[in-house]
């Protein structure tokens, strides 16, 4: 057996057996201080090897794990208890945290235009998708929230950059606070006025 084959088998076995997704560092340590460069190459080979199979090797939040291929879902779902469905409030809060993180409860509420019950954040924290991430250094020092690696894993995201549409939302200013957007619009309108006719 060649050396790369032997490394591939070891990585395969370790990731299969592990109860948690593993970082490259964890894998390297576990396999007896393997060179990390070689490890990454082995992971790349395995991703390719499994890409057409019923199970895939995936990276989420810098951690690697095997999971079933998405197109096999219909075969596996029926015996499973289907996921409890999140309320609309909770999904919105989750999205706001994910796209704006870190974000305080007041900031969440200002986007939603409605108070957020403590229970909603609790549900997201209990699911392991959201965690407190310190405090904002403004008067009152409100707690700010961010998503977890488990969030990325659950939603199949390698990193927050993979959040659907985040680039476009950022480019169109949708992630900026209303006040900032308002200032920008007014400034633009002002300059438009100045080179157009003013009607007053």
């Amino acid at each position: 057996m060649s050396e790369t084959e032997s490394l591939d088998r070891a990585v395969e076995a370790a990731l299969f057996a592990s109860e948690d997704a593993l970082t490259v560092d964890q894998l390297a340590t576990h396999l007896g201080d393997v060179d990390k460069g070689e490890l990454r190459e082995a992971l790349a080979r395995l991703v390719a090897f499994y890409s057409e199979r019923g199970i895939h090797l995936v990276e989420r939040a810098k951690r690697w794990h095997f999971q079933t291929a998405p197109d096999c879902a219909h075969l596996l779902r029926k015996e499973r208890e289907s996921l409890r469905k999140l309320s609309r409030a909770a999904t919105e809060v989750l999205a706001i945290i994910a796209y704006h993180e870190p974000v305080s409860r007041a900031e969440i509420e200002s986007i939603r235009g409605v108070q957020t019950s403590g229970g909603t954040l609790d549900v997201l924290m209990e699911a392991g998708w959201v965690k407190p991430a310190g405090r904002r250094e403004v008067p009152g020092r409100p707690v700010i929230y961010a998503t977890t690696p488990e969030f990325l894993r659950h939603f199949g995201l390698e990193s927050r950059r993979d959040l659907p549409g985040i680039d476009e939302l950022r480019a169109t200013g949708m992630l900026d606070p209303v006040d900032d957007a308002f200032e920008a619009e007014m400034a633009e309108a002002g300059s438009a006025d100045s080179d157009g006719e003013s009607d007053s």
């Binding site: 879902a73 596996l76 235009g113 409605v114 108070q115 939603f155 939302l169 619009e185």
Partner: protein
């Protein structure tokens, strides 16, 4: 009941049946406002939420909605919703009042408008609706991803990786020997001996000083009465005893004392017998 069409692009949000919990299908124990709203407003979460849904009904890009139309639709909706419980209605009515004001302000000629202008107010509302709409869209796209436990599954029975920690105990030769020394020191019978300390008693000082005074007619420094070659501790004791002896001799009229200045040397002289 309030008659509103289903929201267009948010089919993944299932909270329109009024259970109010954060997990669909789990009995409601959720927020007070959510529960209450869902019971009476078919799941609208506050005025902004309702406005957003109304805006979507205009079936144009959110950036091009007519705020005036939106205000009309909202006011019409609130008019139709007669049996709103008062505590829920409050937020909606505040918004209704504000929108009514906004509408009237927008209908005024420009030069009669107050500051901030109704256009600015409308722009802010517009921006808020856009942002809420964007997040709602993002949430539904997020929920539609291949999710672990719904679309993809992890290994059902992983063997688990184990790290067995064994302990390598550390102790060096010095620790070992020292520990033994301490055990022995701690538990061997301890002998406490009080060292024989040389002191000069007052009696011997009296004898010594009066004896020595007899041998001289001149002033003698107190220091001279101390035993020569004595160690420091004996000297201290002898000094103290000799001083007291000198005082005693002076009191009984057998010696005179003199000291030229404070802390200066103390001198003694025998008192000659007057007889």
């Amino acid at each position: 009941m309030i008659d509103l069409p289903e929201g267009g692009t948010v089919a993944d949000f299932g909270d329109l049946d009024g259970d109010g919990g954060d997990w669909q299908g789990i009995a409601a124990s959720g927020g007070r406002d959510e529960t209450a709203l869902n019971l009476s407003l078919d799941g609208w979460e506050g005025p902004l939420d309702l406005l957003l849904e109304l805006a979507r009904k205009q079936k144009v890009d959110l950036r091009q909605i007519s705020i005036l139309d939106l205000v009309d639709q909202y006011l019409e909706f609130i008019d139709g919703a007669e049996q709103l419980p008062l505590e829920i209605a409050a937020d909606y009515l505040v918004m209704a009042a504000w929108l009514a004001y906004l509408k009237s302000a927008m209908l005024l000629p420009k030069d009669e408008q107050e500051d901030p202008s109704p256009e600015e107010l409308a722009l802010r509302l517009h921006l808020r609706l856009q942002r809420l709409g964007a997040m709602r869209e993002a949430a539904s796209r997020l929920m539609a991803r291949d999710r672990v436990g719904r679309d993809v599954f992890l290994r059902g029975a992983p063997e688990g990786l184990r790290i067995d920690r064994s302990i390598a105990w550390q102790v060096d030769w010095y620790d070992l020997v020292r520990a033994y020394g301490q055990v022995k020191a701690r538990n061997s019978p301890a002998f406490h001996t009080v060292r024989d300390r040389q002191v000069m008693t007052l009696e011997s000082a009296l004898d010594r000083v009066s004896g020595m005074l007899g041998m001289s007619l001149d002033w003698v420094e107190l220091r001279e009465f101390l035993p020569p070659g004595a160690d420091a501790r004996l000297r201290k004791s002898a000094m103290a005893s000799s001083f007291v002896a000198a005082l005693e001799l002076a009191r009984t009229g057998r010696a005179e004392l003199a000291q030229d200045d404070i802390f200066g040397p103390l001198r003694l002289r025998r008192v000659r017998a007057s007889a």
